[in-house]
């Protein structure tokens, strides 16, 4: 059963609504759990039949689990490349899941908060994404999802090593907490690298927007744990909730205040130039769009700009990405064509707003 993806293009998942706590700095909170089923080899050794059986077993399990029965199921193997890319841009599946081969599927809810990736690197990767900083809420939800699936299947579990995973770097809890942050002021003041360094010292990974395998991109940073063995889920989440993330938020807000105080015209110039570029450009790369939107977002959250709302910024943020752009346009586009269409999208959406 494959749901049509056409109608999701014009919506925003809950995580991009910008409504969560501390959403002036925290874009989203994501928690994922890696699980494998007992009685099957890991995917690198699974036969074609076993891969298909795994998808079948996991899809059935989620349909039988009361609270997951309404998830939308999509056969990722049968999707064309553009639709898979679309799901990656919406953070419903990982890049690795999009680019893998063989039987694989995903089930997600209408809010796009919960997603179950079947046959990713592990048999099952389940994730919850929420807008803003919602670590406890995300944990409660993912843990309930895990319990529901647990009642239907038997997980591969080891008395010493915990939940067994294909890669030993995920063994134990199989937990990955990722918090996506918007840190434009720390980048402007040149302190971003210090933050990244401090995070790495704490054995946390710092990445760009789309997670594993992507480099830091502009002002958007994702911070996640790497240690999954020997620390309980709640302790790990508490590190983020009480220690790491509040500190980074504090630094960023302090940097914003000091920039506005001492360099107001320079900051205003950045913000208004970014808006001017978005409203007038004829060719726009995705990197430039991301950078301009970052400044506009900074303008909104520092009160320097009020003619646009956050919802529009977040919508443009998603819709200016390549798969969304092509879906909205209804045709395949080359890189050059995408630049033209992207610029036109911004002009049509931002051209009419009042400049103040």
């Amino acid at each position: 059963m494959t749901a049509p993806l056409g109608d999701v293009v014009r919506q925003l998942g809950e995580w991009l609504r910008g409504s969560g706590p501390q959403s002036d700095v925290v874009i989203s909170t994501r928690i994922r759990l890696a699980r494998n089923l007992r009685g099957f080899p890991f995917l690198s050794r699974a036969s074609v039949e076993q891969r298909a059986e795994l998808v079948q077993t996991l899809a059935t399990a989620s349909r039988r689990a009361g609270d997951l029965a309404k998830l939308i199921h999509v056969d990722v193997e049968k999707l064309d490349e553009l639709d898979r890319q679309l799901l990656v841009e919406r953070h419903i599946i990982s890049r690795q899941h999009a680019e893998a081969n063989g039987a694989r599927a995903v089930a997600f809810d209408r809010e796009e908060s919960v997603s179950l990736m079947m046959n990713e690197e592990d048999h099952l990767r389940m994730q919850v994404i929420r807008s803003g900083l919602q670590l406890e809420e995300a944990w409660e939800l993912i843990s309930r999802v895990d319990d529901s699936i647990d009642q239907q299947v038997e997980y591969a579990y080891h008395a010493q090593f915990g939940y067994l995973t294909a890669c030993p770097t995920n063994v134990g809890t199989g937990l990955r907490v990722s918090v996506m942050l918007h840190l434009p002021a720390l980048r402007l003041t040149g302190e971003l690298e210090k933050v990244a360094h401090a995070a790495r010292e704490m054995k946390l990974a710092v990445r760009g927007l789309f997670g594993e395998g992507t480099e830091a991109l502009g002002d958007f940073f994702q911070i996640s744990n790497q240690i999954t063995l020997g620390r309980g889920e709640l302790d790990l989440i508490d590190d983020f909730r009480k220690d790491v993330i509040p500190k980074i938020i504090e630094y960023e807000l302090a940097a914003r205040r000091s920039l506005i105080k001492s360099r107001q015209q320079a900051v205003d110039d950045k913000i208004w130039r970014a808006l001017g570029t978005l409203r007038n450009a004829r060719l726009m790369s995705s990197n430039e769009a991301m950078q301009c939107l970052s400044y506009v977002r900074l303008g909104l959250h520092t009160g320097r700009l009020s003619a646009i709302d956050l919802h529009t910024v977040n919508e443009l943020f998603l819709q200016s990405q390549q798969a969304h752009l092509q879906k909205l346009q209804g045709e395949r586009l080359t890189g050059e064509q995408r630049s033209v269409v992207r610029a036109a999208l911004f002009r049509s959406r931002l051209g009419h707003i009042n400049q103040n």
Partner: protein, 166 residues
């Protein structure tokens, strides 16, 4: 924002601004490679690099390398050498077959940890005591009240009542 100002070829993806006391002193637009060459990226290497750990581990014990090379899982056919090259295991049983070398690898990958702490499957019945969950919820409730987040406090109270009456 145009090409890299240094090599003039690649797309500039790093835009750096030096903010001085009275004016924006300098703007730089570099591609990733040139930014890295100038040491502006810092170390982008992940803290936890499995292949690096593997190398460290294997070269650290040359005497046992031969013994390790002979390890093979009878269920999936995975050899230790294959695991070392690919970084992923073949089946859950491999955790027992390669237990000894894995234990050392896991210790260095997970900050010295040797045993799982945390959730376990329902079938095992342990660490699912509602008292733990209640303690956690009560702690969160305290925090919510202190933080004047009454909506959350109300939903936490509901959950606590739900568990207590179950």
């Amino acid at each position: 924002m145009g090409p890299c100002e240094k090599c003039k070829k690649a797309q500039a993806t790093f835009h750096l601004t030096n903010l001085e006391q009275h004016s924006i002193k300098e703007e730089r637009h570099l591609c990733e490679r040139c930014a890295a060459e100038e040491g502006l990226l810092g170390s982008e290497k992940p803290v936890l690099d499995l292949s690096h750990l593997m190398e460290q581990f294997v070269s650290g014990g040359k005497a046992s390398a031969a013994a390790l090379a002979g390890l093979v899982c009878e269920e999936c056919g995975m050899t230790y050498i294959e695991f070392r090259n690919q970084g992923v295991l073949g089946c859950p049983h491999d955790y027992d077959v390669f237990a000894e070398p894995l234990a050392k690898l896991l210790e260095s990958a997970h900050d010295g940890a040797t045993h799982h702490v945390g959730k376990s499957p329902r079938s095992l019945g342990q660490s699912r005591k509602p008292t733990d969950e209640l303690r956690r919820l009560r702690r969160l409730l305290d925090e919510a009240v202190t933080g004047e987040d009454y909506e959350r406090a109300a939903s936490l109270r509901d959950r606590i009542r739900e568990i207590e009456s179950a």
